[in-house]
Subunit: 347 residues, 2 copies
C-alpha cells in the first residue's frame, strides 16, 4: 500500500484546510494510506468523527515544531528536529513513507528534500517542477526556484526528468521540450542558454524543440519548459502576480456600481469556469524531481482542493513508477549503476 505523509502544519490555513484536503483525497481514492505529521493529540481529536473506514487509513507521526517562513531554511532543518518538515522528510528517507506533501516554507522543504531525502545517484540537482497554466491548459515547468547559478548539464537533466514525468504520470505521449529564452534565433540568449541549447539538441531521449520565447510560455507553446531557477522563478512569480493584480482589478470593476453588480451576477459563473482553466493547481503541487522519494510543495495559501490534488499526485507518482524510470534514465546517461529508490539506504 502506498503511504503518503502530509505536513499538517504547513500553509496559511493549517491544520483545518489540510484536514479537509486529506479527507477529500482519502474519500476519492482508496489507493493510499495517509500519515499525518503534526501535533498528534489535536489531529486525533479533529479526525475523531471521520468514518471508521477513513480512520483505518490514517496514522499519526507527532511533530511539535513548525518552521516559519522567515527562518533560514538549512539551519531550521538542522535545528528544529521535531518540525513537521524535518519529520516528514525523514519518513521518506527511512522508507516509512513513499512521499511527502507540504504547504509549508518552500526553502525549508527544498532543503529537507536535498539534505534529508537526498538525490538519486547521478542527479546533479533536483529542480522544483510545477504545472504552469497556459492558454492551452498547462505546461510542466522547471526549475521554479530550487537551484540558482545553473550549469547547462543541469538543465539537460531537468529536460530528461520532466519528459519522463510527463510521459509516466501525465500520460503525454511524446512531450515537446523547450528552453525558455528571450528570442528564437540561435544567436539569442545568455551563455547558459546557448550552451544548454547545443547540448539538448544531442539528447536522444528528449523531444527537444528548441527555444520558447518568455511571452509564449503562457500561450502553451511547449509541454515541458526548462529554465534556470532564477529565470524560472521570475516567470512563474510574474505570472502569478500579474494574474492576481488583473483579477483584483476586474473584481473592483464588478463591485463598482449597482449596474455592474447586476452584470457580475450574470458573468461570474462562466468567468469562474474560465478562470478555473487557468489554475494549474488542478494538477497538484510542485514536485522536487530527482530525489530518492517525491517531495511535493503546495502553495502557502493552498486551498482544500490543492491539498487534495497534491495527495493524489503523490499517489500517481508512486503508482506510475516514475521515480524508478527517472533513476534508470539518469543512470543510463551518466553511466552510474541503476539504483531503484526503494532499495537505497540514505546517508
Amino acid at each position: 500500500m502506498i503511504r503518503i505523509a502530509l505536513d499538517m502544519m504547513g500553509g496559511d490555513n493549517c491544520p483545518d484546510c489540510n484536514l479537509d484536503g486529506a479527507f477529500d483525497a482519502l474519500g476519492s481514492s482508496d489507493g493510499f494510506e495517509l500519515i499525518m505529521v503534526g501535533p498528534e493529540e489535536t489531529l486525533r481529536q479533529k479526525t475523531a468523527d471521520w468514518s471508521q473506514e477513513l480512520r483505518s487509513r490514517i496514522s499519526f507521526v507527532n511533530a511539535t515544531e513548525v518552521i516559519s517562513l522567515n527562518e533560514a531554511p538549512v539551519q531550521a532543518i538542522r535545528k528544529k528536529k521535531d518540525s513537521t518538515i524535518t519529520r516528514g522528510a525523514e519518513l521518506v528517507k527511512n522508507k516509512e513513507a513513499d512521499a511527502f506533501v507540504s504547504a509549508g516554507s518552500s526553502g525549508a522543504l527544498l532543503a529537507a528534500g536535498q539534505l534529508k531525502v537526498g538525490r538519486l545517484p547521478g542527479v546533479q540537482r533536483a529542480p522544483l517542477a510545477a504545472f504552469v497554466p497556459t492558454k492551452k491548459g498547462f505546461c510542466f515547468f522547471m526549475d521554479c526556484g530550487a537551484n540558482v547559478d545553473a550549469k547547462p548539464e543541469w538543465l539537460c537533466q531537468f529536460a530528461q526528468m520532466g519528459s519522463i514525468y510527463m510521459k509516466e504520470v501525465m500520460h503525454s505521449e511524446n512531450p515537446s521540450v523547450k528552453l525558455a529564452n528571450l528570442g528564437l534565433e540561435e544567436e539569442k540568449g545568455n551563455a547558459l542558454t546557448k550552451e544548454a541549447h547545443a547540448m539538448l539538441k544531442e539528447m536522444p531521449d528528449v523531444n527537444y524543440q528548441g527555444f520558447v520565447e518568455f511571452r509564449d510560455v503562457v500561450y502553451g507553446e511547449a509541454d515541458v519548459v526548462v529554465a534556470d531557477a532564477f529565470t524560472g522563478n521570475a516567470i512563474i512569480k510574474t505570472l502569478e502576480g500579474t494574474a492576481g493584480v488583473l483579477m483584483g482589478m476586474i473584481k473592483d470593476v464588478l463591485k463598482s456600481s449597482i449596474l455592474t453588480k447586476l452584470a457580475a451576477a450574470v458573468i461570474i459563473k462562466p468567468l469562474r469556469a474560465k478562470i478555473k482553466s487557468f489554475d494549474a493547481s488542478e494538477h497538484g503541487g510542485a514536485v522536487l524531481l530527482g530525489l530518492r522519494g517525491p517531495v511535493i510543495k503546495c502553495h502557502g495559501n493552498a486551498s482544500r482542493k490543492e491539498i487534495r490534488n497534491a495527495l493524489l499526485q503523490a499517489r500517481d507518482y508512486i503508482s506510475s513508477g516514475v521515480g524508478e524510470k527517472i533513476a534508470a534514465a539518469i543512470a543510463d546517461s551518466t553511466g552510474k549503476e541503476t539504483s531503484v529508490p526503494q532499495h537505497i539506504s540514505v546517508d
Copy 2:
C-alpha cells in the same frame, strides 16, 4: 528647437499609425520639430493635407530600406545603409536629430543605438528601460533585454541612470530602487544578484531599498526595478503574455451568450478605464539609457497613442537635460571627464 526623428516604417501598422501618432504629438505640443525617416515621396503625399502650421514643423529624410524582424540585427545595420533605423540612428549620431523613436525591430534598434549613436563615456552598457504597469501605477524597469550575461557593476549603473531618469523626466522626488530577486533575505539570489546587492548598498546617489520579489514587481513595490536583461525580459514578457491570455479569456466569456453580452455592455466602459491604468505605454516607449542621444523603442504593435506618447517622451528627455545629468553622474562615479552629449563627436 528640439528635433525628433521618427522611423515611419517601423511597427505593424506603419506608416499610417506612425503618421497619426506624429500628427497627434505635433498637435498637442509645439515644443519640437519632427524628422520623418522613410520613403519621402509617400510621406510628403500623406501629409499634404496637414495644416500649414504642422507642415512647417516636419521635415523628411529619405530612407528606402526596412529592416525586418527576422534579420540578424548587427549585420542588418551594417548592410542596409539606407534603412530607416540606420538613417535615424545616424541623424542622432551626426547631431542632426536630438532623439530617435522607432517601433521597428528591437534587435536592430538596440544594435543601431550601441553601434551608431554610441554610449556616453564611462557607461559600460546601455540598458533598455521600460515603464512596466503595476497595481499602483508603473515602475521604471531595466534591463528589458539589451545586455545578457550582465556584470554586477552594470546593474549598479542601471540603478544610477534609472534613478536620474525618474527624477528628471518623471519628477519623482527620491525614487526607490530595488533589485529583482527570488526572495528578500540576504542569502537569497544568484551570484550576480548577491554581488550587485552588496555594491548597490554602497552607492551614495541611489536610494537603494534592497530586493523586490519577482511577484511584487507588478504590485508596485519600487519606483525603479533593476534586473539583468535575461531575467528582465522574462519578467516583462511574462507580464505581457499573462495579461494577453487573461484578457482574451475575459473577452471570450463576455461574448459567450446573449446574457453575457448584455452584461458586457454595462461593464465594458469601467473595465476599459481600469485596464487602461494597467497600460504603461501611457508613459511612452522603452528608452536605451546611457547613449549619447536617446533612442526610444515602441512596441511592434504600437498604437497611434503609443507613438504619440513616445514622441512627447523624447521631447521631455531632451528638455529635461536628463542626458547631460546622466553623463555627469557617470563621469563623477567613474572618474572620467564629464562629456555633455551635444559636444561630443562620435566615432
